[in-house]
């Protein structure tokens, strides 16, 4: 529903008729670098990992300072606990915490003299059954430049509970920008045919490419993070950004002490498909 509203608002014909875009230089303040912590616990074979970086100024290149020397402990709700090892600058891992659905994980990060905490619960796994792809009808007024694909994701939404998902999409192994998310508020318990619009050009999608979709079953806090992050996401190629938001703000996070980023425990299900007309 919201998706449709956004499409409408974004593609106001008047804008496409008269509107023109250009790059301008805006005098932006520089902000004190802030700590960004990304933590993941999954139920597949990837290791539990935490990455710590710093923010930078808007007009600086996208190279983010890594934060080394942090002390990180993850504990599950059964009392199992593990301290992560720094495997390279700013990247911390452990193989002794393995994610399991319906278990909760809490994390404590001590870095640069401050302590940050978060919690996440891995929901029951939603299985991605299959994918299909089709060429979308060109949008009104769009030419070859605006070629879009509809990527259909088929899965069964589990009844009785609220389900939150994130879809991570890879084209020939390269992750596409944007956080694609799903919540079953209006579709609880149904067989889902979830249609994503993928813009061919910015995502560099060509015939014969291999698309892989990773369905992550996430908890509400993670969903809220991705949802609010989308409106301030500079990498979004999934369509026009929600740039007309009255008051953009930093995403809602589950970290304490004003750390940026998110700590998420998610269950994974994957499917792949080849791009064809």
């Amino acid at each position: 529903m919201k998706k449709y509203i956004k499409i409408i608002l974004a593609n106001i014909f008047v804008i496409s008729l008269f509107g023109c875009e250009d790059v301008i230089v805006v005098d932006l303040n520089s902000a004190a670098p802030r700590i960004v912590i990304e933590g993941e616990v999954t139920n597949n074979d990837t290791l539990t990992e935490v990455r710590i970086t710093k923010s930078t100024d808007f007009y600086q290149p996208g190279i983010y300072k890594k934060v080394s020397g942090a002390n990180i402990v993850i504990t599950d709700n059964k009392g199992n606990s593990s301290t992560l090892t720094e495997v390279e600058d700013g990247i911390y891992q452990t193989d002794s915490i393995k994610g399991q659905p319906e278990k909760s994980y809490s994390i404590t990060v001590k870095a640069e003299g401050k302590t940050y905490q978060a919690e996440s619960t891995m929901p029951r796994q939603v299985n991605l059954d299959s994918l299909s792809i089709e060429l979308a009808p060109s949008p009104p007024g769009g030419g070859e430049e605006e070629k879009n694909y509809f990527l259909h994701l088929y899965f069964q939404d589990p009844p009785d509970i609220d389900n939150y998902c994130r879809f991570k999409i890879f084209n020939n192994g390269e992750q596409l920008g944007g956080f694609y998310i799903y919540f079953d508020k209006f579709t609880n318990g149904n067989k889902i045919d979830y249609r994503l619009v993928l813009h061919a050009k910015p995502n560099n999608i060509k015939l014969g490419d291999s698309l892989m979709v990773e369905l992550q079953s996430i908890d509400k806090a993670s969903f809220d993070f991705y949802k609010t992050a989308n409106s301030v996401n500079a990498s979004r190629t999934g369509g026009r950004q929600n740039s007309s938001s009255v008051a953009p703000a930093n995403p809602v996070t589950n970290w304490s002490n004003k750390a940026l980023g998110v700590f998420t425990a998610y269950a994974v299900s994957r499917q792949s498909i080849e791009v064809e007309e």
């Binding site: 790059v23 009104p140 007024g141 007309s244």
Partner: protein, 772 residues
């Protein structure tokens, strides 16, 4: 405080009653001789007594003076004066028809003496516009538009390029009450705000009051825009219309029973979609995109003391693509009014009004098949009385009641993966009663004071939730149909005074307190059809504003020039914002997504206008500040409201070169909106996210724009006219930023850049107008 106030009122009432012996009343209607339309605020002046009155919004006037023989002059701007000698031995009914001044410039009879209303009335921050004045002002795509013209006045600023929404003295868009023949218009925009819903062919008069409203108005805390539709010509048939680039209009009006009854039908439709197939683009062919307006009005005069009016407005925007997708929205209003004269001194109007706004989105595709509806609906009853006590005292009182039905959202599914879903409707009863007294204490000192009491009942059926700190509902209480869930009320005192320094200048002061019980929040910078109205509930408190203002008014050159300076201070309580990341659509728990705080605004407004001559126009400048303070936003520090425009300047000039040619121009400049820009960036899972440090800490680039217009009269006779209007919107093609987006550079994704979207370059247009 209140007791004293009532005592004061009663005392004045009796004092004036004693003076009432040996008097007669002169009353009647003042109408246009060519159309029979009632003239609003026409002047009646008794020369011997040097006193007078003005007609009300239905054209009725009444003045009570000592018995005697008098010379009475009736006048109205742009019309020839009418002078009568009347012997007021008894009360006399005198209906007067005024003839519009002839078209020939040199014949224009403008004595101007009555044009000092701005100086002498107790009205502050009030401007009246008649559509005739609009025609010469250049507008986008040639559509004369009352809302766009209002935005050229001091203290009123446009909400953005091509936006019908407007901010008044730092208030939000939803804090403006917009009335069309007394019915609330909930969404005044067509096509996302590029056009307003008011077709100027159907409009007689519009009046905006910036906050110091008299007690008869209420329900919004910033302003009132009171628009009256034409009644319809009761003398002869008349056709008016226009053919423009984007739309065409046609109005038909005429007598049903000559001099007794008339009607007006006025329609407008855009036809951009009719041209789409010509574009040759296959994908555009199945696109639907248009809007239409229909204004209907009829009246019947039973006798001199009873008149019935029926008016209606229907308008809708329709967007769609094939059968897959549809999106349409619009307003419907209907007003049934009964004017009744209880005596030559007591005028009453009773209205029964319905108002409806809704939008419908329908999706029909293989995966999904559903329809979404949302809106608001009102049933409204009001009764207003005007007691014309004598030439120095006017008493007004009345009651008003609204039954509001809020439809936050409903999904009807016809198969596919979406389920049917409904957020419960909400119900409310909004009631108010008022009394006000307009009195001339001396020739120099006039006071209008009044008191309004308003009350809101949040009615069942409904559920009331309580929430914990994480906004998770912890308990629910269910109420049955008709139960009172919560109730609020308050007194709204209003006072405004004028002190005449001399015959051409005055000082005015006013205070007003206003309550607002229904609220609209927008998540977007533009007004969108899906903005939702929320009622006052046990969590959402009524918005309250107090405003004081002080002004100096001065006219020059026999009212050729008028000028004013006004200062104001306004504080606003129980203001509402969404919290970060709020989930607003179809949310049963919407109240948990809101944060509350207060706001204040102050400023100074300068206005200078030339009324008469070949060159007319005005200049307005506002210097102001608007801030808000919310415990949950910006760490509790005050922040600039988006509409905080430090400088707001506009100049409008109309030059009548000859009978055939009129040139016009306006130039607008204002400080860019206060907005939130990123002060940095960071990376999460391969995505670059913008980093924000404070709310509204940056400014959009300053906005400025020049518009030019030329009207060429092709033919002008007494009863027919044809003209062509050319206009250039944004003549020097200034790229005013509509939005600024911060995103990864397309050429080098390692860098981020700011991208400005400008909506309009220079937009030329041509419109053919006619009437016969």
């Amino acid at each position: 405080m209140l007791n004293k106030f009532i005592f004061f009122l009663v005392a004045i009432f009796f004092a004036t009653a004693i003076l009432n012996a040996q008097t007669s009343t002169l009353s009647g209607y003042i109408t246009d001789a060519e159309t029979g339309e009632g003239l609003i605020s026409a002047n009646v002046y008794i020369q011997e007594l040097e006193t007078g009155t003005a007609s009300n919004q239905y054209g009725f006037y009444s003045i009570t003076v000592p018995k005697g023989k008098y010379t009475i002059r009736y006048s109205y701007t742009g019309y020839k004066n009418e002078t009568l000698t009347i012997d007021l031995k008894y009360s006399v009914n005198s209906n007067v028809e005024l003839t519009p001044a002839s078209y020939e410039i040199d014949e224009v009879v403008v004595e101007g003496k009555q044009d000092d209303h701005n100086v002498k009335s107790t009205e502050m921050g009030t401007t009246e516009i008649v559509p005739k004045e609009l025609q010469a002002i250049p507008v986008i795509l040639g559509e004369a538009d009352i809302l766009k013209t209002l935005q050229l006045l001091p203290g009123i600023s446009q909400a953005g390029d091509g936006n019908s929404g407007y901010y008044v003295r730092g208030g939000n868009i939803d804090q403006n009450l917009i009335l069309l023949d007394e019915a609330t218009v909930y969404n005044p925009s067509h096509l996302f705000g590029f056009f307003s819903v008011f077709n100027s062919d159907a409009i007689k008069n519009a009046k905006i009051i910036k906050g110091s409203m008299p007690a008869e108005y209420g329900g919004r805390i910033s302003s009132v825009l009171d628009i009256k539709m034409k009644e319809g010509n009761n003398k002869q048939w008349r056709f008016t219309g226009g053919i423009g680039l984007i739309s065409s209009r046609l109005s038909v009006e005429g007598p049903i029973v000559k001099d007794k009854s008339s009607f007006l039908i006025s329609g407008r439709r855009t036809y951009a979609d009719l041209f789409i197939p010509l574009a040759g683009d296959e994908t555009l062919k199945d696109t639907k995109l248009y809007f239409y307006d229909l204004n209907l009005k009829a009246n019947y005069k039973f006798s001199n003391s009873d008149k019935l009016y029926l008016s209606g407005y229907f308008g809708r925007d329709v967007l769609g693509y094939k059968n897959e997708f549809g999106f349409d929205w619009g307003n419907i209003t209907g007003t049934l009014r009964w004017n009744h004269l209880f005596s030559e001194k007591l005028f009453s109007n009773t209205s029964f009004i319905v108002s409806d706004y809704n939008y419908v989105v329908s999706i029909l595709s293989e995966e999904n098949n559903f329809k979404v509806t949302s809106g608001i609906r009102d049933i409204n009853f009001k009764s207003d009385f005007q007691y014309f006590f004598n030439s120095k005292n006017l008493l007004q009182f009345g009651v008003i009641g609204f039954y509001h039905i809020f439809l936050p959202g409903e999904i009807d599914s016809y198969g596919g993966s979406v389920n049917s879903f409904q957020v419960d409707n909400k119900y409310g009863l909004e009631l108010a009663a008022y009394i006000s007294h307009d009195v001339s204490l001396t020739h120099r000192l006039k006071i209008n004071y009044g008191l309004r009491y308003s009350h809101y009942l949040n009615l069942g059926p409904g559920k009331v939730y309580t929430y914990d700190e994480l906004n998770i509902p912890t308990s629910v209480i269910e109420y049955g149909s008709g139960d009172i869930i919560s109730s609020y009320g308050g007194l709204e005192p209003r006072i405004s005074t004028t002190y005449l320094l001399d015959e051409t200048s005055s000082i005015k002061g006013s205070y007003a307190r206003n309550f607002q019980y229904i609220h609209m929040l927008s998540t977007s910078t533009t007004s969108t059809p899906i903005d939702i109205w929320l009622p006052t509930t046990d969590i959402i408190k009524p918005e309250i504003a107090n405003q004081v203002s002080l002004g100096y008014f001065k006219n020059f050159g026999n009212n050729t020039f008028e000028s004013s300076v006004e200062i104001y201070y306004k504080n606003m309580q129980n203001q509402i914002e969404y919290e970060n990341g709020a989930d607003i659509y179809f949310n049963e728990y919407i109240e948990s997504q809101l944060v509350f705080g207060k706001g204040y605004a102050y400023g100074i407004e300068f206005f200078f206008k030339k009324n008469i001559g070949n060159l007319t126009g005005w200049l307005s400048y506002t210097l102001s500040k608007t801030e808000r303070k919310f415990p949950d936003i910006n760490d509790g520090n005050p922040f600039s409201a988006r509409q905080d425009r430090t400088h707001d300047f506009s100049i409008t000039a109309i030059y009548k070169l000859s009978k055939w040619w009129t040139f016009s121009a306006n130039w607008i400049y204002y400080t860019g909106d206060a907005v939130t820009f990123p002060s940095g960036k960071y990376s999460v899972d391969g995505n670059t996210l913008n980093l924000y440090t404070e709310r509204n800490g940056y400014r959009m680039p300053a906005y400025h724009r020049l518009d030019l217009g030329v009207t060429m009269i092709l033919r002008k006779r007494k009863d027919s006219e044809m003209s062509l209007t050319f206009s250039l919107y944004n003549a020097y093609s200034r790229k005013n930023a509509y939005t600024i987006t911060f995103r990864e550079s397309k050429s080098n994704p390692n860098y981020t850049e700011a991208v400005r979207l400008a909506l309009f370059g220079v937009v030329p247009s041509i419109t053919f107008n006619f009437s016969f």
